[in-house]
């Protein structure tokens, strides 16, 4: 427990992007979790006149069906966030299984798995999703999470395989092999723990992608329009021509929430990258390094002159 805490403090110290990103996500998640407590109205019920602008009664206005936008956004956020988490979890799990499997087993298994991965990788994902969703017909949130998870793993699998290959050649793995440890134990005890930070980065990256892809699919009308989520809110706003009658709040509320979560995940993603590869750092800690380089340069020039 203390180990996790100290790791977390190390991650967040001086890491402004990470702090802001996590705070944004935490804020939205907390609001959505508290939906039943703080929601002003029932999200599924007609509670006002259609297309009401924001007012004291409906702080974020109403939809064409007279439903409260704020209530829908809070409750719908739960669906959107759960789909993103589930899709990211499934993707990371498949990427780990395929990547570690291919990297550790090697030979035929590696070749076969990588052939499938490479083909999946060059396939344009969204058209694939559209076709799948179209043939399955108005898919619910659960199915969306599954198809996002099943189609987004190839890039991660390649990264995991590369990392596994380099881990395999490390001394501690060789030592475990010589000691006669079983393959499963080596994978679980020696290899997987070293992939955790990579997997965390992948999870955040996929969640970011899944939030957008899910909203996009639902916006196009491929989701189940009777389930309230941020994507279907956009869909209803579009199909009831909310913009053209001036009901901008119907787009603004779900759009802003998606953007906040997306932005937060993006910031978190950048900071995880920078922690796992210090070369990529951009933060203020670079200042000292630059000052050192500058004085060195100046000294060198003086010496030459």
């Amino acid at each position: 427990m203390t180990k996790i805490l100290s790791r977390l403090t190390r991650f967040y110290r001086g890491n402004n992007a990470g702090i802001i990103g996590s705070a944004l996500i935490a804020l939205v998640v907390a609001l959505c979790l508290a939906a039943p407590l703080i929601s002003p109205h029932d999200p599924d019920r007609r509670v006002g006149r259609p297309h009401q602008p924001p007012s004291a009664e409906h702080i974020m206005g109403t939809t064409r069906a007279g439903k409260d936008v704020a209530a829908q956004a809070l409750h719908g956020g739960r669906v959107s966030l759960i789909v993103a988490l589930a899709a990211a979890g499934l993707t990371t799990a498949i990427a780990l299984a395929v990547g570690v499997g291919a990297g550790y087993a090697g030979g035929r298994i590696d070749e076969g798995l990588m052939a499938v991965t490479n083909i999946m990788l060059v396939f344009p994902q969204l058209p694939l999703l559209i076709i799948l969703a179209a043939f399955l017909g108005n898919v619910g949130p659960f199915v969306i999470a599954v198809i996002l998870g099943l189609t987004s793993w190839p890039w991660g699998a390649r990264v995991m395989r590369a990392q596994t290959l380099s881990l395999r050649r490390k001394e501690f793995v060789t030592a475990a092999e010589i000691m006669g440890e079983s393959r499963w134990r080596i994978i679980a005890v020696e290899i997987l723990p070293n992939l955790i930070s990579l997997a965390a980065g992948m999870f955040v990256g996929t969640a970011l992608y899944a939030i957008g892809a899910q909203a996009g699919l639902e916006f196009l009308g491929l989701g189940d329009p009777t389930v309230v989520s941020w994507g279907t809110m956009l869909y209803w706003a579009q199909s009831s021509q909310a913009f053209l009658v001036g009901a901008w709040w119907e787009f603004l509320v779900p759009g802003t929430l998606i953007a906040l979560v997306g932005g937060g995940l993006a910031l978190l993603n950048i900071s995880i990258d920078q922690v796992s590869n210090p070369r990529l750092r951009t933060g203020p800690q670079m200042k000292r390094w630059r000052r050192m380089a500058a004085t060195l340069d100046a000294k060198r020039r003086e010496g030459r002159a």
Binding site: A17, N118, I119, L121, V122, F123, P124, Q125, L126, P127, L128, I130, I131, L132, A133, A134, F135, L136, L208, I211, G212, A213, A215, G216, F219, L220, G221, L222, L234, Q238, F243, L244, W248, F251, G255, I258, A259, G262, G263, L265, A266, L267, N269, I270, R279, L280, T282, G283, P284, M286, K287, W289, R290
Partner: protein, 324 residues
């Protein structure tokens, strides 16, 4: 040369997988397109019509492998059947009318995004830890993290609907006659600005990061230290030594990004009612026009695969190690 042949074989396999997928999907799913049409017609459809539709769409009572061979042949002959939505126009004719718009938009967006993004990335890596390096990549990434549908809607609302700077939709002013007249070209450009901006916002971040990170990694190499030790001017080191090698990952990323550009196209074209393939596939899905839908999918996949192949060949040309 072996590399070229291996890649070519790989893409041929990928094309086959795409065609097979297209063949299998409607046959594996519960119900078939004709059932959907039957339901859409409220069950009022004479059996002969149903049988005729089945025949037309290739759902004959033959073993699967025979159907598959027949499907392969019709794809090779570019005979993809008539569109249901625009019956009896052949699917290929419908596609031909929309293809130029998508190619125009995706092409312009990809080229501009690579140019602008790599410029930013190069500058950020050159002035590492400076103001641009600290803020530009994060701001671009933040902008790109918004789903394209949301960005497109925001653009539409602010610049087209509220400010009225740009037209509300479509590829050109329908009152003008298409041709190479100045008015028409100006109209096409004005209509393309907002869709293009939306695509750029979501695409540039990738290039900033790819270029910056590649540059930063290359700058840590020994031969850069060597060049510095020789006292070569920084500018020359950056351009002749570092950027040359940093461009390789950019080419790989270019092939990946094309699939992404196509995806963005779907949302942008839907929001701005742009007459391209992205919008067509969404309309085909809504109208349950299965032949058109599958043809759109096939065309998009083939386009992305072809572009990937070109990027691979570019890589061979840039990286001498692969040519031996």
């Amino acid at each position: 040369m072996a590399f070229v042949i291996r890649r070519l074989a790989f893409y041929l396999v990928a094309v086959f997988v795409a065609i097979t997928f297209n063949f299998l999907i409607p046959r594996l799913m519960p119900g078939d397109p004709v059932d959907a049409m039957f339901a859409a017609a409220g069950g009022r459809m004479p059996p002969e019509t149903i049988a005729a539709y089945r025949e037309m769409l290739g759902f004959v009572d033959a073993p699967l492998w025979q159907q598959y061979l027949q499907y392969l042949r019709s794809v090779l002959m570019l005979d993809l059947g008539p569109s249901i939505m625009m019956f009896p126009t052949p699917v290929t004719t419908v596609l031909a009318g929309t293809l130029p718009w998508t190619v125009l938009l995706a092409g312009a967006a990809t080229v501009l995004a690579i140019g602008i993004g790599c410029g930013f990335g190069l500058y950020a890596a050159y002035h590492r830890g400076g103001r641009v390096d600290r803020f530009a990549p994060v701001i671009w990434q933040f902008a790109a993290s918004m789903p394209q549908a949301v960005t497109a809607l925001a653009m539409f609302f602010i610049f087209a609907l509220t400010l009225g700077w740009f037209p509300l939709g479509f590829g050109f002013n329908p009152n003008l006659r298409p041709g190479w007249s100045l008015d028409f070209v100006a109209s096409v450009v004005m209509h393309a600005v907002l869709p293009l901006l939306t695509l750029l916002i979501s695409m540039i971040a990738t290039w900033v990061f790819t270029m910056r990170n590649a540059m930063v990694n290359v700058l840590g190499e020994d031969y850069i230290a060597m060049a510095r030790a020789k006292g070569l001017p920084t500018n020359r080191i950056m351009r002749r030594y570092a950027a040359r090698n940093a461009i390789l990952p950019v080419v790989t990323a270019a092939s990946m990004a094309l699939g992404f550009a196509v995806a963005g196209q779907v949302f942008v074209e839907t929001v701005f009612n742009y007459p391209g393939i992205g919008q067509l596939i969404v309309r085909a899905v809504a109208a349950r026009d299965y032949p058109l839908m599958q043809a759109c999918f096939l065309l998009i996949v083939l386009g992305v695969l072809a572009a990937n192949f070109i990027a691979d060949m570019l890589y061979v040309w840039l990286d001498p190690r692969l040519r031996s």
